[in-house]
Point group: C2
Chain length 417, copies 2
Amino acid sequence: MRAELLSIGDELLIGQTINTNASWLGKELSSRGMRIVQVTTISDDSDIIKTSIDQAFERCDILFVTGGLGPTKDDITKHTLCDYFNTTLEIHLPTLQRIEVFFSKRNRPMLDVNIRQAELPKSCEILENVNGTAAGMWFERNGKILISMPGVPYEMKGIMSEQVFPRLRERFDLKSLYHHTILLQGIGESFLAERISDWENKVRDLGLGLAYLPSPGMVKLRLTSYEGVQREAEIFSLFKELEDRMPEYVFAHGEITLAEKIGELCRANGLHIGTVESCTGGALAASLVSVPGSSDYFLGSLLTYSNDLKVKLADVSTNSIESVGAVSEEVASEMSKGGLNKLGVDYCISTTGVAGPNGGTDLKPVGSVWISISSRTQTISKFYNFGDNRERNIQMTVLTALNLLRCMILKINIEKK
Amino acid sequence: MRAELLSIGDELLIGQTINTNASWLGKELSSRGMRIVQVTTISDDSDIIKTSIDQAFERCDILFVTGGLGPTKDDITKHTLCDYFNTTLEIHLPTLQRIEVFFSKRNRPMLDVNIRQAELPKSCEILENVNGTAAGMWFERNGKILISMPGVPYEMKGIMSEQVFPRLRERFDLKSLYHHTILLQGIGESFLAERISDWENKVRDLGLGLAYLPSPGMVKLRLTSYEGVQREAEIFSLFKELEDRMPEYVFAHGEITLAEKIGELCRANGLHIGTVESCTGGALAASLVSVPGSSDYFLGSLLTYSNDLKVKLADVSTNSIESVGAVSEEVASEMSKGGLNKLGVDYCISTTGVAGPNGGTDLKPVGSVWISISSRTQTISKFYNFGDNRERNIQMTVLTALNLLRCMILKINIEKK
């Protein structure tokens, strides 16, 4: 099936808005087996719209049109489509009722222009829009399909997911996608690919899609079934295999942050935690605090950015700082032990390093970081080098420290990292 | 002048890449007075490219083509354009030399495919690409102009800025833009617009462009001259007028963060600072530490998330917490005073509030925040409510606290906020 996208709106032409609708539609449609031939962006102009539809239908079978369905005067798509398909407008009662509910829920007065949004072309099928007042429209003529939707991304996506894809699946041989993801911390994309190449081959042999979705310090692995949710159990067991093989990296399924995962673990085990930070300067605490309700398990931190404060607040010995320097295993472990007592927590994470861009030496170049975690029974300290970008250093240290804490709470062996 | 954009590349059609080139070109060209008629995205297919050019030239005078100039086999734009303009390829020596330098600088071997990138159409004008190996091309026929550039955004932008705009300005009546911006914190877009409506009228009467560019907690004001840099002094004096009128809001010119501004002020005045944070949980410190070299003036913080630690670490009195609660002027000021001593700094900022989504009461709803700043001679405490979004609350508290500190250091009166 050959598809095209037609985006209508001056705001797209003058670059005020980036056309993310086109990339979303392109990705969703092509992954289901449609071939996208062309994406066209044009002005809100009736003649141009009609010409563009004619030209598109010379190349494709189905045309997805977005934009120009708002209540203001410059939105002319609906009238133009009426004209193009030789039909007229009439009040569509279900849509009118939805618009009335929409406004009454928001306690906003309903204006004439809003009522007019319920006037829709007679000859099309109406596609319900649960996220807004502009309904979608499905036209057909001579074996060609035109689907018109509002340009507001979440309204368009809602109509696509709830109205368009089900109809397309019913009538055409569309692939039915099911995705599931797991999240890994502490291993880069290429190392991961090497370590799981046997697993990857198996996955591909099973006809599943695999995507590596990396972000700084993390990799998301996505498995896709083209036969829908019926392969869910198989996908889960494939992921379970990876979790068992590398528990020190796989920290969660789906959309959850490491800080949220730590929150879950602390609640489940009745733990209180805190941090003593130098190079991360509060970023580790801020990450923990970004989780709503974190005050239940996160008690506080000492940000001992200066050496003086490391001694004064966290009971680090002046001797350690003078003999081996602030960026050292000794100071890191003294910081986490000191914090454990000063903050009265069950686990205390400390960080000390050279975030950069300045302050590096031959022995301790920019990017050198010691992370230490103390509990009542144990202190673990580990050394890393995250390279020469300050922002990335801080971010990597935060993620690595949180994952170390996760492994320590879960008693996962991290010695062979 | 009517212009069109033609983006070539399957990665755009399948949504792997978002077409940011189109929005950048749309913005830059339309702000200089060109009218963008259509943006078209197509596949790397020779016939489709030629048809699209023909159709575009029926509608426009100048066509900007991006993509398909890479060294790999699927990049066919150059050959297609040769065909379209009835010309052949020949080695372009300056380009070959640039490519050689490009590879030797990076210590990478130069392959045959890279040499072939110096083979360029005879009949076009070559547009030098200082950021990559694919040169731009300027074709003309029958009064129509076609400009072909690589799809890599910073290469395309470099060619546009250094090669295309100067040529366009020379030949056509293009507007010459000059921008300057100032940054404001602590006043919303609509309030600002109301307070400076007289100034805005003056600016518009002078024929300058004004844009409000809001982001959470900040507004950037941009003035644009369409007659180039020659109006720079005039723009500076207009901005100076605003700075004098509202010094409590205007914190800087250009691209600088509030944390960087604080860094400048601390260095200039030999000051050391620290924080005692509750609701911001380290985000205020993290913002200060994000500035390279911040260890020169930022000493450290106490993150007293629990009440117990407020008392233990920051010398807050149990009595205050019990009688008026942790989110109160008393506790905020005790925190900043306590931190001043414990951290040994010249200025200490404290934050205590209800970040949400839970923990609000009738008297202290979600979003209630006290910020206090102590110096050796003075303590200022202020109350805010930033609404019910946790992330936004924390972000707004950080920005507001930094701007309060700026005003306090500069002795700007902030009482009438």
